[in-house]
């Protein structure tokens, strides 16, 4: 059963379906795309429910392995563990949600828009499922092009600057990673008796000398830290988010940033344990700076969307912090925080988009009192906002709490500083909410435009809401899923240290 292949390439079928459709029939094109993406989501739910996460179950499941470039020892090798399963589920869900969210907002070149999102979904799913490093790289770059087009064509006034910046930042990092991957190819062959392979499961079998691990770590860092984005490589993010259409922002924050965290977990920790320990203090320091910096910069934003974008920098800092403290709680928290951030920040961007679609304005100073015009919306938005603040009982709390728990033991200083940032987060998010929702509307003419949520908007916010509460109240469902992966990654990162 080629279940993963079907899941990854189902959007291609959608693309082939909409290609011959007349461009004027926008409704049919949108509907087809959303149905295909929805079916893909159902498929990933099927994969999720049939995933065996019992302790001692096989690491990678639904494995497929077909030779692709046998002359180079490269194969089409797919498989998922708990970590990638979780992210696959997140990706398929956010895909249909984000496309549905721009049902009305995008009216020009609808067909191309849908094609870009379908291609994007293929790339994102491929990245999480690839078990061959080369295949991973191919999907990694496939993600870049549609995102570039989405920002560049359907973006805001400074879209071209933003999209080129986005592309160049990511592309330079990726290329350095490519060189490192290929260097690893030969280094592995030299250590493993001439077997040339880029299979992720095989690459970790040998112990690379530290002098080799360090430059490779830095090259991977260039690719993954840009994606996360880790301070000081984050500068593309606010530009990209502000200019991107809502759906683009949702995918960017919800999934693309996770590619970086996923890369760190899978490759830096999995393959380069010694260098990971060597660089851990630096990574923790950068993550802490990102957490505080992102929070402080969010405080002073005038643009609603930019505020949410900078809060991403802060939240993703927690992910990196949790990864590099090398313990169960920290890593559990980091992975769960990735998932939560996808749900919550995705939802916040959707909420910003809902208002922006109505009044085409995001200046915080122009808004206010929206709760009076859009009560249902205000309720949804409040839950997502509080989740992002880290209110116990909602998703955001669990992830950040676990990361804190993991951090206070080994690096108390980082723990204290990040704790401070959580307080700042409460500040900027609550202040944002009050400025947008309460008091009175600062621009009177907007009053008529602000109609409450339409049924389809409720439809796509509901699953997010349900998951935010589910993760907040009963995180075990999700923690059990990722536990075997966490144990495995920690063993990879730890075992080598013990033998050093």
């Amino acid at each position: 059963m080629f279940l993963l292949t079907v899941t990854i390439f189902l959007p291609l079928l959608g693309g082939l379906l909409i290609l011959p459709m007349p461009a004027a029939n926008k409704k049919l094109i949108r509907l087809t795309t959303i149905v295909v993406m929805f079916v893909d989501w159902l498929l990933s739910i099927y994969l999720l429910t049939n995933f065996n996460s019992a302790p001692g179950a096989a690491g990678y499941q639904y494995v497929e392995n077909v030779p692709w470039l046998p002359t180079l020892g490269i194969s089409y090798h797919l498989g998922v563990d708990g970590l990638s399963m979780l992210l696959v589920f997140l990706t398929t869900m956010l895909s249909w949600i984000s496309v549905l969210s721009t049902w009305n907002a995008v009216q020009v070149r609808v067909k191309e828009y849908m094609l870009a999102f379908l291609l994007l979904e293929i790339g994102m799913l491929g990245v999480f499922c690839a078990l061959d490093f080369f295949l991973f790289y191919v999907f990694w770059e496939v993600v870049l092009v549609p995102m570039y087009v989405i920002i560049g064509v359907w973006g805001g006034p400074r879209k071209i600057y933003a999209t080129i910046k986005f592309f160049l930042f990511t592309f330079i990092g990726s290329l350095l990673m490519l060189v490192a991957i290929l260097a690893m190819y030969f280094q592995h062959a030299a250590l493993a008796g001439g077997v040339r392979t880029l299979d992720i499961t095989a690459l970790g079998d040998v112990k690379y000398p530290l002098a080799f691990q360090i430059p490779v770590f830095l090259a991977f860092f260039a690719a993954f830290a840009v994606k996360v984005p880790l301070w000081p490589l984050h500068t593309w993010l606010p530009d990209a988010h502000v200019e991107a259409p809502t759906a683009g922002s949702v995918i960017l924050a919800g999934v693309l940033l996770k590619l970086g965290g996923y890369g760190f977990l899978r490759f830096n920790l999995g393959l380069l344990p010694d260098a990971s320990h060597y660089f851990a203090p630096l990574m923790i320091a950068l993550a802490t700076v990102a957490i505080v910096y992102g929070a402080l910069v969010s405080l002073v934003q005038k643009d609603w969307k930019k505020l949410v974008a900078y809060s991403s920098v802060s939240h993703m800092g927690f992910v990196i912090l949790g990864i590099f403290v090398f313990n169960q709680q920290g890593m559990d928290g980091a992975i769960l925080e990735m998932f939560n951030h996808g749900l919550l920040t995705g939802a916040l961007f959707l909420c910003v988009g809902i208002v922006y679609e109505r009044i085409h304005d995001r200046e915080l100073a122009h808004l206010g009192g929206i709760a009076r015009y859009m009560p249902t919306y205000a309720a949804f938005f409040m839950i997502f906002m509080l989740g992002s603040v880290g209110l116990p009982g909602l998703a955001g709390f669990v992830g950040e709490f676990l990361v804190m728990l993991g951090t206070f033991g080994p690096v108390p200083a980082a723990g204290w500083v990040s704790m401070l940032a959580i307080i700042i987060a409460a500040g900027y998010l609550l202040w944002m909410y009050s400025r947008v929702m309460f008091v009175k509307l600062n621009t009177e003419s907007y009053a008529e435009e602000l109609t409450d949520l339409r049924p389809y908007e409720v439809l796509y916010l509901l699953p997010l809401l349900a998951l935010v509460i589910w993760v907040g109240v009963y995180p075990d469902t999700w923690l059990n899923l990722i536990h075997p992966s966490v144990t495995h990654i920690l063993a990879q990162a730890g075992a080598t240290v013990a033998s050093r």
Partner: protein, 481 residues
């Protein structure tokens, strides 16, 4: 196996060239458009005959002046495919500019003939004569639009510097002859094997030959002729110049430096590495500043000479590894051919409708005016940038693999950084086509030939990437020099 049998593809092309000369003289202007079909037929037959020789072993012909082996077949495939694609892209442009069909095809055939003999030659004399046959035909092709000043300028610059380069090349060959007393490449190799590698006479001849070839493939600092020549020549001729003669010059480079001077490889690896690094970096940096697409593609072509030359730097004499510089070089040439010809064909296509359309502004909103053409251009630009899974990416991967394998990691990093720099100007084309709008409604030319050509190149660029294994194996099978 008689010599004539072995040289069948070359003979077919010769006959084709002669027929073109004849028809150009006797046919009326209108009838000459039918010559496109004749040219296609001739090149396709030659290609089929050529492919038939694949895997047939090694045959020398004409007293060991030429040889047919997998290497020759590989390069002939490349040359004939180039010729076919150029023939498909030319009619729209030639018709619009009222340029002579027969002369174009005739010169093209002669140039291809020279290229084929270049790849097949095993002797310095044959090699030089073949190169001259090729370049003289191409000089005239560059000046075909004889009423246009720019075309004249292109022709003259190309001719003067080309003649200069030929002189240097033949001078280097004479040094090599003086040192070794041989013109046969295999015998020179045997001599080099026996001799002291750091012999200054040998080093001087290596240096002079490198300069001569450097001019032909437009390596920095011998590239100065390229932008003007490429910009001024008629676009189909430019497309041909940027691929055909370059590939042939690389074939000559391999014949000289691998077959004959292979044992001296430790002497020149670093030299070619430095030339490659300078070439790709300068080519890309200057390409960023261009506003004319043809000129941008000219600098891009210089940069790609740099990438391809990396394969030469990564060549290690005596290594049997399948991941080696020569295979990487040949595979890259293979993918480079399709994506570059495709990009130039788009320029020719846009110009056929709009005579002077060469700047970025002329490509505004092409995504709306001609969606499929713009999609093809996007594929070519992304492939030239090196975005997976397209062919250009696989080519770069193979090059980087070979470079890392030969221990030159610094060069691999330079390739990577250069790809990132090049992304800027290649993507600018995509930006202009899709993200800038225009109210102009200039009609685009419709020609089944150029559409076939574009579809074929775009599909090839995609499939050579996704199914790269077969084509890598093709290059690997051809590497045994």
């Amino acid at each position: 196996m008689t010599s004539a049998y072995v040289a069948m593809p070359e003979i077919v092309v010769t006959v084709l060239a002669m027929l073109m000369l004849l028809f150009e003289a006797v046919l009326r202007e209108k009838q000459k458009r039918g010559l496109t079909w004749l040219a296609l037929l001739g090149f396709v037959v030659a290609l089929a005959l050529n492919l038939y020789q694949w895997g047939g072993g090694r045959f020398s012909a004409y007293n060991d002046a030429m040889v047919v082996d997998n290497f020759t077949v590989f390069f002939n495939t490349l040359f004939l495919a180039t010729a076919i694609l150029v023939v498909l892209m030319a009619p729209a442009y030639l018709k619009e500019r009222a340029l002579p069909f027969g002369e174009f095809y005739c010169l093209l055939s002669f140039a291809v003939l020279g290229m084929m003999f270049t790849a097949a030659s095993t002797d310095l004399i044959t090699l030089f004569v073949s190169i001259e046959l090729m370049v003289i035909s191409v000089y005239i092709l560059a000046g075909l639009a004889r009423r246009e000043k720019r075309s004249n300028e292109a022709c003259l610059k190309y001719f003067l510097l080309g003649a200069f380069a030929s002189a240097i090349l033949v001078y280097g060959m004479s040094w090599l002859y003086g040192v070794s007393g041989q013109t046969n490449l295999a015998k020179i190799a045997a001599f080099v094997q026996r001799t002291n590698l750091s012999d200054p006479l040998l080093l001087i001849s290596i240096g002079i030959l490198a300069v001569g070839i450097g001019f032909k493939v437009a390596l920095v600092p011998f590239h100065a002729w390229t932008p003007d020549a490429y910009e001024g020549a008629p676009t189909p001729a430019t497309a041909f110049m940027s691929v055909g003669p370059k590939a042939a010059a690389f074939a000559a480079l391999l014949r000289i430096f691998v077959t004959a001077l292979g044992p001296a490889q430790p002497d020149y690896s670093l030299l070619f590495g430095a030339l490659a690094a300078a070439t790709m970096t300068l080519g890309n940096l200057v390409a960023i500043q261009q506003n004319n697409i043809k000129r941008m593609l000219a600098y891009s072509s210089i940069a790609h000479s740099g990438y391809i030359m990396v394969g030469m730097a990564a060549f290690r004499n005596g290594s049997n590894d399948t991941v080696n510089g020569v295979t990487a070089l040949m595979f890259y040439l293979f993918v480079y051919t399709f994506m570059t010809l495709g990009a130039f064909a788009i320029v020719a296509y846009v110009q056929a409708g709009q005579a002077e359309a060469e700047t970025f502004d002329d490509y505004r909103a092409l995504g709306r005016r001609a969606p499929l053409t713009a999609l093809a251009m996007t594929i070519f630009m992304l492939s030239l940038t090196g975005v997976p899974p397209l062919a250009g990416f696989m080519g770069k991967v193979y090059l980087i693999l070979a470079t890392v394998n030969s221990g030159m990691v610094w060069l691999a990093v330079i390739i990577a950084v250069n790809s990132a720099i090049s992304a800027y100007y290649y993507l600018r084309v995509v930006v202009v086509m899709y993200m800038n709008d225009t109210t102009e409604r200039v009609p685009l030319y419709r020609s089944p030939f150029i559409h076939t050509m574009l579809a074929f190149s775009a599909l090839a660029t995609f499939f050579f990437g996704v199914f790269a294994n077969q084509f890598m194996a093709f290059a690997q099978g051809a590497t045994g020099l």
